[in-house]
Structures are given as structure tokens and as C-alpha cells.
Symmetry: C2
Subunit: 318 residues, 2 copies
């Protein structure tokens, strides 16, 4: 049962070994910000364009034959969808993904291209976890949660093992784009000596607020719009909160304009495509919201950008 | 004297050692084209956004104190300019760069930001080599040619040493974007067992034509326009022809539309920014102009794209 498993540092190391067997490490690129050389971990260069391939692979490859035969159900705004679909295709597992109707077209298209079945829901109004639970009741199968799952957390943490190998030591600090807190929790387990700074969109700091309150906080219906489609879960989960409590540095939030500026900066200076949610940590660094040093690592978490929106962003900020 | 030195495989290995001491290897990324998994060498992720940093560093770092004091003069449409300026800044050498007035603004800005002095010339009409020779006559200094220089050729070849290390063996073939033939010559020396396919813009296949004719061929005044600003030298040089004769596979040319389609494909599938000239080899691969296998490497040579043109390209092809 996934509910009784606790994500551990040993589990992260195991995940890193499994992932290294099928995927080359993503580059850790030198980057200079305000005269300080630090590092960018380019998870947008994963085959699916996001770190989510890690958790998807660790979770699905841990399933036994009977579980695989029943298939998986996932809920995702688009990158976890592709991570699960990629792993499912490779393992011959049927995958159904619950996605918001307003997910970027590129993410819907890529997920379909990987052979997954997509079930759409309306982001304001329907509870995506309830849609998934209903599907599982009807069809069977295993839920692969986007962040509130021990294997998924361990899988995402494998990025931290790679970083420590590439850097030759643990980072002083890691700036992580944060939605539900799966990546941040994995990194905290992978790099016990590193400070973990979570960066969330303004109004969608559900992990930061939960850590401050000591309990899960739900996004209200009045939560503002954000271009960071990958970073707007309605709440974190207890498993993430448990790992991050006392470990994560909170209070870093970024505006849409800061994110777009970071996307434009990366276009011109890193020659990489970063989607809005994948640029949140870089945006915080560029805006001077956190001190940087030569052992600081900025997570670039995704690059599945809508062409039209990206074109407008580089016209404005490139 | 640079004229009497001959570029060698040993020189390439020496260059690779010098470059590895200051720059991490660029990633060799898995890429799937038409169901075949091959590799992309992402030189657009170099700090200056192009492989030209290699030749610039190998050449300038080989200069003695007296040469360094006199400064360097380079001729470039923009990427060699940045490579030389980057190396010059790091070594405390004064650099003057002759650039075409119609060079992309991003390349002019980046070169200036690295502290180099820029002298502009008019692409049709003035001979850039003559402008550089006049400058050297007036001011002194060492010419660092963009491709017809033994150190520059060896420096560019260091990419091939990295590729062979990353792949664990020499590639079956390397597809290289080709302007004057500096990179192609370096790769031919670095990877003696690999086929070297040069890819040139339609109407600007000055290396291919020279190899076919057995002598240097000048671009005529009626040469067509190309968006590949980095791949339009008016002729190759004897030193490049000497290395490439009998080694390079020719006949691969790409149109502007094929190049733009490759840029759009890379945006969506590799999440990378590639400038037109840097996407020529990828364009040939995507257009099915050369057979691919799991030991084929496609050089992605530059990422200094004009934001406006790139926005239009991904709107059309992203």
C-alpha cells in the first residue's frame, strides 16, 4: 500500500540508480547571476521536458505484474501526466490521466502522443482527486499521485543525487519550483546538508502556508490567476508536509512578470526553453530574493511552453 | 607563425584538455527522429551560446606575453566574435572584432558586453579580411581567423573528443553545420573513424563546392539570401580544405524553411533555443537527408537567436 510507505533517503538512492540505468543525467549548467556563478539543473532537457519522468518511472517500475495489469490513473496539469505516460508506455501499462480542461495544449498533445487516455475536468469546480477516485472505483487501477506519493517523492529526489555527484558535494542551497511539494521533499531527502528553498507563485504558496500553519491549507476560490499552470495544486499532502517540516525554507513567491522575465532571460542567456512554472526558482534568483553562491543550485523544472505565450514573452523580455 | 602550423589530432587532444579545465562538457542529449534514437551535442548551451568558445580559448591561451600585449583582431558574424571576446576578457587581452553591419543585434550586444571593440563593415561590398588586415597594419595585433586557423580548428575539434568520451566510442557519423569548415575540420581530426557530413545553407555550400572542385570557390554576388547568418563565409580556406579533402561527406544543403522547421521542432521537443545556422545539421536530419543510427551525432552549434525572428519561427513551426 502506497499509504503506509514512507519516503526515505535510501529510497531516493535506489530511485537514482534505477533512473541512471535508463536516462543520462540532465546537465548542471554554470550560470552567472549578478556577478555570482551558480548552477542550473536543466530538468527541462529530460525527454518529456520535465523532472516528472523520475517519479513516474520509480513508481511504475516498482509495481508487480498484477498491479501493472490493472493499469494506473494519474492526475496532472501536464508534466506528471507525461512522466507517467512515458513510464507506462515503456512498461506496457495502461494509463489514464485526469487533466484540467485548461491545461496547455502542448501538454495535452504530448500526453496523448505517449499513448495515455486523457479524462478532462474543469479546474475551478471539480475536485481532480475525486474524479480520479471515481475512475479507479469504476475501472480499478493504481492511483499515481503527482506529489503525495512516497515513490514519486523518492523518484523526484534522484535529481538531488545527480546534482551532488555533478557538483562533487551537496549544494549549499537548492531553489526549487514548488507545486505540491514532491520535488522539494525528494531533494530534502537526497541532500540532507543542503538548505531547500521552495519558490511558489504569488497566491499559490500552499506548501509555504501549510508549513507556517503546521497543517494543510486549501487554496480558496479567490486564489489569483497564475501563468504557472504546473504550480497550482489546491493543497499539499500530509506526506509532503511531513518531510518538509523543519527542512524547507519558505516565504519565496514570484509574480507572473518575474516569471516571464526569467523565461526571457533564459532564452537569451541559457538558450533554453523554460515553461512558466519551470522558471519560478530562476525568477526568485534573478529578482535577488535569495542569496546565491558558487554551491547554489537553481532547479529548472520544465520546458513544455505554449509557443504563442512563449513568443509573446520573448518579444517582451527576450 | 600561425601560417606554418598544421592542425593535428594531438593538437585537438591538447585543446580538449585545456577546455575541460575551464568549461564543463556540453550535454550529449538523446533525441528520437523518425523512430531512431540518435544524439544531439548541445553546443548552444556553452556560456557564449556557441562552440566558438573552444577555438577562441585554444588560440588565445596559446599566445605568449608579447602577443597578448599586442591584442587580437577577429572577423566574425557574431559567434566567433563572442568566443574571442570571452577568451580575451578572461586572459586580459584587448580584442577588436570586425563584424558585419547586419549581424544579429543579440550578437553585437553580447560581444560588446564581453568588452570587445567592434568595427562594422558592410557584408556585400567590403571584404572583411581586408578590413581586418588594415586594422592590424594600423594597430598591430594578431589575427584570429574564424575558421582558417590551426589553433581554432583544433579548439573546435575538442567537441569531438568530448563526444567520443560521452558516447564511449567514436560516432558512426557526425552531422556538422558548416560555414568555413573550422568545426568540420576539427571533428575530422578528433574522430578519425567517424564519417563527417557537412551541412550548408542552399547557395552557401562553399566548402562542398570547394571539395568537389578541388580548389577554393568564391561566393558570387548573386548568392541567395539565407537566414543562417553564421554560415555564409564568402569562401573556405586552404587549411580547411586540406584537412577535409577526402574526409568530409558533402552534398547536404538545407533551405531556410527546413532550418526554421528544425528550430520549431527543437523548441517543442528538445526545449532548446537554436539559432538558424546552429540548426542546419538538425534540419538535414529531420528532412531525412542522411541515414541515422544510434551512434549518429547531430551538432547543435549555436543558440544566439534574434527574439523577434525566433518568436515568428515558433509561431509558424513550434
Amino acid at each position: 500500500m502506497s499509504e503506509t510507505r514512507i519516503p526515505t533517503g535510501d529510497g531516493v538512492i535506489e530511485a537514482a540508480g534505477k533512473i541512471a540505468a535508463i536516462l543520462p543525467p540532465t546537465p548542471l549548467l554554470p550560470v552567472e547571476i549578478g556577478g555570482v556563478r551558480c548552477w542550473a539543473k536543466a530538468e527541462n532537457l529530460q525527454p518529456i521536458g520535465a523532472f516528472k519522468i523520475r517519479g513516474g518511472w520509480h513508481r511504475l517500475s516498482a509495481m508487480d505484474e498484477a498491479e501493472r495489469a490493472r493499469g494506473v490513473v494519474a492526475v496532472s496539469s501536464g508534466n506528471h501526466a507525461q512522466g507517467v505516460a512515458w513510464a507506462a508506455k515503456r512498461l506496457g501499462i495502461g494509463a489514464t490521466i485526469v487533466m484540467p480542461r485548461d491545461a496547455p495544449q502542448v501538454k495535452l498533445d504530448n500526453t496523448r502522443a505517449l499513448g495515455a487516455e486523457i479524462v478532462l475536468y474543469d479546474r475551478p469546480g471539480e475536485d481532480r482527486d475525486e474524479v480520479a477516485a471515481r475512475l479507479i472505483e469504476e475501472r480499478g487501477g493504481t492511483l499515481v499521485h503527482a506529489f503525495g506519493d512516497p515513490w514519486v517523492i523518492e523518484g523526484q529526489g534522484s535529481a538531488g543525487i545527480e546534482i551532488a555527484e555533478q557538483l562533487g558535494e551537496q549544494p549549499s542551497r537548492i531553489l526549487a519550483c514548488c507545486g505540491g511539494g514532491g520535488l522539494a521533499a525528494g531533494l530534502a531527502l537526497a541532500c540532507p546538508d543542503s538548505a531547500i528553498h521552495i519558490v511558489e507563485p504569488v497566491g499559490w504558496d500552499m506548501v509555504g502556508r501549510a508549513l507556517a500553519a503546521g497543517e494543510i491549507v486549501q487554496a480558496g476560490p479567490d486564489a489569483p490567476k497564475t501563468i504557472c499552470d504546473a504550480l497550482q495544486p489546491t493543497a499539499t499532502k500530509a506526506i509532503n508536509l511531513g518531510v518538509l517540516s523543519g527542512r524547507a525554507q519558505t516565504g519565496l513567491t514570484v509574480t507572473d512578470d518575474e516569471v516571464r522575465k526569467a523565461q526571457g532571460w533564459a532564452f537569451a542567456n541559457l538558450r533554453m526553453v523554460i515553461e512558466p512554472g519551470g522558471a519560478a526558482a530562476l525568477a526568485a534568483a534573478l529578482a535577488g530574493k535569495v542569496p546565491l553562491d558558487d554551491r547554489t543550485v537553481i532547479m529548472i523544472t520544465g520546458g513544455n511552453a505554449d509557443p504563442g505565450a512563449f513568443a509573446q514573452t520573448i518579444a517582451d523580455f527576450g
